[in-house]
Structure formats: structure tokens, C-alpha cells
């Protein structure tokens, strides 16, 4: 096993709601409410090896996008640290930080929002590499042509504007922009969620080709279990800010361990399975503002016992390379 390229070490992220003026005045006279805190990510640890693709799966509010953004350097973690090649990222200052953060690039969900509508796509792709001196501006043209060709776009399109492209093509441009920075790690946040099914397959194929050619390391964030299964080596399932299960893809899909993972698999409609053959999970996703005590999943879990309300289960090894956060694996729920 090669060393970890990225080490997410006990990372948490809290968002604190800024009190309004009225609430601050109320606070001064001692009548204020407690500040509201969202624990978007709490105590997540994950190591990613070079050349590996990790799938990050979960429903809305589970913290998967926040975690991706922390890795990409958009947010600083509230606690814990991110190590890149054994060097901490977020706490470094000045030029060094800049150098490290360019090594992680992000592809966002909505290619209609992530591309500057008033910039020619060639300039969009070239901007980062020129700024960070990866390429000289006089060589930028051929560099951009190379990048566009790599994602399956005609280099002659580089004088065009984003509105002249379809959703699938725009997502290719966004991928080209990320690759142009020669990143060591790619964070893809729901890259195919907004695309039509037939276009989705094209972009997934492109991703798998690029991965093979460039030996990419990537975090692939998605709510679509089928997509994640197809592209990832390992999958982390998240629920309300915590990783509840982490396993190699094939093993996870063959035998999911955590009750939430199992329930999630059963509630997904699948082509060809036929009518009524899926069982939905009972209950709502709790608000991240007020997560349930103990194991966050216990109010919806068919196996929950008193211990699940009291203590949060740690993410414990249940086999080689397999981790699950459930009391059922560690002495029961009583």
C-alpha cells in the first residue's frame, strides 16, 4: 500500500449563525437565545492513497459537499487538519499555501453556474495555469487546445462563450479547467447530477479514461449509488456529518454493514427490479441544527436500542479495509 496522498485527520466543520442586531442586543441584556451551530462535518478521518478514487455518498445535509470543500481549501476546518503529502495544508501561510491549494482542483455540480458567462472558454481554462506559472502566456494557446482535446472538445471552440455549449459540454470544460492546473487531487462535487442520462454516461466515460491516462486521484461526491459504484475504488457513506461506513466498493455493495447503508440501498429505485420492489426508509432526515443524540441514525433505525441514544458509535474496523460505525458490531445496542 502506498502512502496516503491526502490525510483528513479528525476534521470538523461548524457553521455558526451570526446573530442579528436584535438578538445581539437581547444577548447584552441576558435575554438572548443560544447561538445556533450547525456541525456540518464532525470528526471525520479519511486517508486517500495516490491513484485512488473515493466515492462520498449521502443525502442532503450529510456534509459530503462541505468535506469536499474543506479538502479543496475553500473552507478551513474548525478542528483537525488536512495533510497533503504529510504536510499540513490549512495552517500554512503565504506562498506555500497557494502552492499546495492549487494541487487540489474542484469540479462543481452545475456547469451553468461554475463557468464565467462573459469569459471565452479558452481564457477560462488558461487563467489558472498562467497565473500560477504552469504555462507561459505565449504557450497558453496550444496548452488550452491540448486540454480541450483531452476532454473531447474541438480546440477550435476556445473562442466561444459558455452559453454556446450544452450542459454535457460545459461539464467537460469545467473538467478541462481543473485538469489544466495539473492537480494531484480532483474533488468532483456531483459532476453528473445535473446532466441527462445519455450525457451522464459520456461524462463518466471521460472521467474513467482520464483517470487511466493521468493516474488521477479523486474524491467523487454523489448521491447516486449507481454512479459511485461505477467509478470508485472505495466508498464512504455519510450521514449527518459523520462517516458511518467505509469500505472497498465491491464489498460494500455485496454486503453493506451499517443499517443506514442497507436502508439506503433498499430505498433506491432500480431499473429492471420492477414495481413495488423497494422499501423506503421511515422518517425524515433530521435537521443538522438539532441532530439526534448518540448515533444520529437511531430514530430511523429498525435495530436501535437504548445504547444508540446514549453514545455515538465510533467508526470501527469490521474487517480488512472495512469500517462501520454501529453498536451492533461492538457488543450490541442494549
Amino acid at each position: 500500500m502506498s502512502a496516503a496522498l491526502l490525510d483528513i485527520d479528525h476534521v470538523s466543520k461548524r457553521f455558526v449563525k451570526r446573530p442579528s442586531l436584535g438578538e445581539r442586543i437581547a444577548g447584552l441584556i441576558g435575554a438572548g437565545r443560544n447561538t445556533e451551530i450547525v456541525r456540518a462535518v464532525s470528526d471525520v478521518s479519511l486517508k486517500i492513497r495516490k491513484g485512488e478514487v473515493i466515492g462520498l455518498v449521502g443525502e442532503s445535509g450529510c456534509g459530503k459537499s462541505t468535506l469536499g470543500r474543506i479538502v479543496a481549501g475553500i473552507y478551513a476546518p474548525s478542528d483537525g487538519k488536512i495533510l497533503f503529502d504529510d504536510k499540513p495544508v490549512a495552517r500554512e501561510q503565504g506562498r506555500h499555501t497557494q502552492k499546495l491549494t492549487t494541487r487540489v482542483q474542484m469540479v462543481h455540480q452545475d456547469p451553468f453556474a461554475s463557468l464565467d458567462p462573459r469569459m471565452r472558454i479558452g481564457d477560462t481554462v488558461a487563467e489558472g495555469p498562467i497565473t500560477h506559472r504552469i504555462v507561459k502566456s505565449r504557450d497558453a494557446d496550444s496548452y488550452v487546445a491540448d486540454m480541450l482535446g483531452r476532454v473531447g472538445l474541438d480546440p477550435s471552440y476556445r473562442r466561444r462563450f459558455p452559453h454556446q455549449f450544452s450542459g454535457g459540454q460545459r461539464q467537460r470544460i469545467a473538467i478541462a479547467r481543473a485538469l489544466a492546473m495539473k492537480p494531484d487531487l480532483l474533488v468532483l462535487d456531483e459532476p453528473v447530477a445535473s446532466l441527462d442520462v445519455s450525457i451522464q454516461a459520456q461524462v463518466l466515460n471521460l472521467f474513467m479514461d482520464l483517470r487511466q491516462d493521468l493516474d488521477l486521484t479523486a474524491i467523487f461526491i454523489s448521491h447516486d449509488l449507481g454512479v459511485v459504484r461505477h467509478v470508485s475504488d472505495r466508498v464512504a457513506i455519510m450521514y449527518l456529518g459523520r462517516i458511518v461506513e467505509l469500505a472497498p466498493t465491491a464489498e460494500l455493495y455485496a454486503a453493506p454493514n451499517h443499517p443506514y447503508t442497507r436502508a439506503l440501498f433498499e430505498s433506491v429505485p432500480r431499473v429492471g427490479v420492477g414495481r413495488k420492489n423497494f422499501r423506503p426508509i421511515a422518517g425524515e432526515i433530521p435537521s443538522p441544527l438539532h441532530p439526534p443524540s448518540g448515533c444520529h441514525f437511531h430514530p430511523r433505525c429498525p435495530f436501535a436500542g437504548p445504547r444508540c441514544k446514549r453514545e455515538a458509535p465510533p467508526l470501527a474496523a469490521i474487517g480488512p479495509g472495512r469500517f462501520s460505525a454501529c453498536h451492533l458490531n461492538t457488543g450490541g445496542t442494549e
Binding site: 443525502e59 442532503s60 450544452s166 450542459g167 454535457g168 459540454q169 441527462d196 442520462v197 445519455s198 450525457i199 451522464q200 454516461a201 459520456q202 463518466l204 466515460n205 474513467m208 448521491h223 447516486d224 449509488l225 449507481g226 454512479v227 459504484r229 461505477h230 467509478v231 466498493t249 465491491a250 436502508a263 439506503l264 430505498s267 433506491v268 429505485p269 432500480r270 431499473v271 429492471g272 427490479v273 420492477g274 414495481r275 413495488k276 420492489n277 423497494f278 422499501r279 423506503p280 426508509i281 421511515a282 425524515e284 432526515i285
Partner: protein, 339 residues
Amino acid sequence: MSEPVLRVKDLRTQFHTRAGILKAVDGVSFEVGRGRILGLVGESGSGKSVTGYSILGLIEAPGEVAGGQVLLNGQDLTKLKGEAIRRVRGAQVAMVFQDPMMTLNPVLKIGTQMIAAVRAHDRVSRKVAWTRARDALAKVGIPSPEERLDAYPHQLSGGMRQRVAIAIALLHNPAVIIADEPTTALDVSIQGQILAEVRRLADETGTAFVWVTHDLAVVSSLADDICVMYAGRVVETGAAADVIAAPRHPYTAGLLASVPAEHEPGTRLPQVPGSTPSLANLPPGCAFAPRCFRAGPACTTTPPVQDFGDGRTALCHYPIETDKCQPLSSTSTTYRSAS
């Protein structure tokens, strides 16, 4: 199938634009029986949503329903104007939108809105209307409906709001509910709950659903029948299970083949090449021909509707004949052999 409650015949909806006339819906026909769920499947720009809007008479200038009939229990809705269509909308045909906040007013309590919706069609007291609203919420599986009636939309989760929108659609026991991508914005576990409720409602109340979606997996688990649209036309119809097991139209086959869950992880997915054509610039003949692996010389002319019996049709010169489908030409695209 019993006498269909909704029969759409050769529906044509077009938009007048500077680029010319766009035929968003170009001769669409289908029917839905009592308590049946029809999955209207297509990608963006296929005309599936415009078909839904046309049924309710919601097309506004520069668009118009230029031809065809929408027969609801024998009455042609396209002939109704003004007050007449308003009496039908919400009472006999209702709509559920993708975003429940398109249905709900953010500054009014759920109860206020639902009572108004009841009294828009029935002259009943507020008290009776309140009871009906509460019963409708209970019917779609909302816990403690009395409290929800007193809540504002922002106090509910996305899934709950969509249930409220479905409850409002159900208030007058309509013959048909048109649902436009109602679960697309929801999480999978919540989507699963709503699909199970809708299936139960269709079976118990006899309300027919037209479920507009791009998601084949949803249709596969929910719908009785499928109607696949491409560039404004219906390209394939049939019982949901049959179409998914053995598609006849190459487009349906391509769509089904590109679903990642059906393939060995890490392998290349069979992809439909190219992208959806612009309606302003459709190729002559079959609109799918430029992307089709089976396209032949005849495809420059308008394809015929091939009838295979049992409600199965395909709009294609070269439909996939048997339960084995192999590409005719040696392209890199191999579609899954339908078993």
C-alpha cells in the same frame, strides 16, 4: 384495460419564436386508465413537461396548442377557455410541480391555502373544508396533520412540502394528476417514501397519474405503462416492465444501457453519442437518426409507428425486432442485450 380516463390524441403544441415555429410537442398520443400510472419519460427538451402543461391548458403565448385533442372522460379540454377550464383544473385534473414552492404560497399557512383550494370548487363551510384538508394530508402519510395545517411552508422539509402539494392535488379526487418531476429534487430515501405513497394512492383512490420524469429507475419501480419521448414525439410506448426488459426503439435501448448500476464497475458505459438536438434545427425524418446505431437510408423520412400489439409501439424504421439486440454497424457503442 378499462375505458381510459385521459386520452391524448395527436397533441401538437408549438411556440412562435424569432427563429421560427418550434414544435415542442409534435403529434403526441397516449391514454391512461383509472388508477394507472403512466411514466412519461424523456430528457431535457423532449417535450414531456410541455405535454403535461398542454393537458391542463397552461400554455401561454408565444406558445399555443395547435392541434389534437385532450379527452378527459370524453370531454375535450383543448376546446375549453377561461372560466370553463378553470372549473376543470384542480377539480378533475390537478398538477404537482417539481418544486413544491411553485404550488405553495410562502406567506400563508398550509391550512389557509388548502381551505382556499377546497372552496375554489366546492361551496362548503370553512369547517368542512378544514376537515377535508386534514384528511388529505393524512392520506399522503403526513404525521399529525392538524399541526401541519397550522404551519407555514418554510417550517416543513422538502419531502413534506411535496407531500402537501400532492395532498392539495388530491383534494377534489381528480380523475388525473399530472406530476412533473415531483421527486427529482428530493433525497433518495424521501423519494422512496413518496413513490410508495403514490403507488398506494393510485391503487386505493383510482386516480390516474401521468408521471413526467427523466429517471428510468423511478418509472421502472412506479409506473404501469411507459411513454418515451424524444424531440417532441413519442418514440416508444408499452407496459413498463416490457419496455424496460426489451426496448424496441434504439433510443430507449440506449437510455437503458447507459444506466451505470447495470454494468460491471469501472467498465466503459455504452453511451448514446452526440447530444439532444435543438428543436429549432431538427434533422429531417427521424430526429434520433444522427445519434442512432441502427440508422439506415430510410431514416431521412419520417418513421412509421410500428405496432407490436399489447399497446407496444415504436416510432422507427428499424425497430429492434427480437429479444436479442445487436448493433447493425460496427460502432464502438454496444448496447446491452435485453434479456
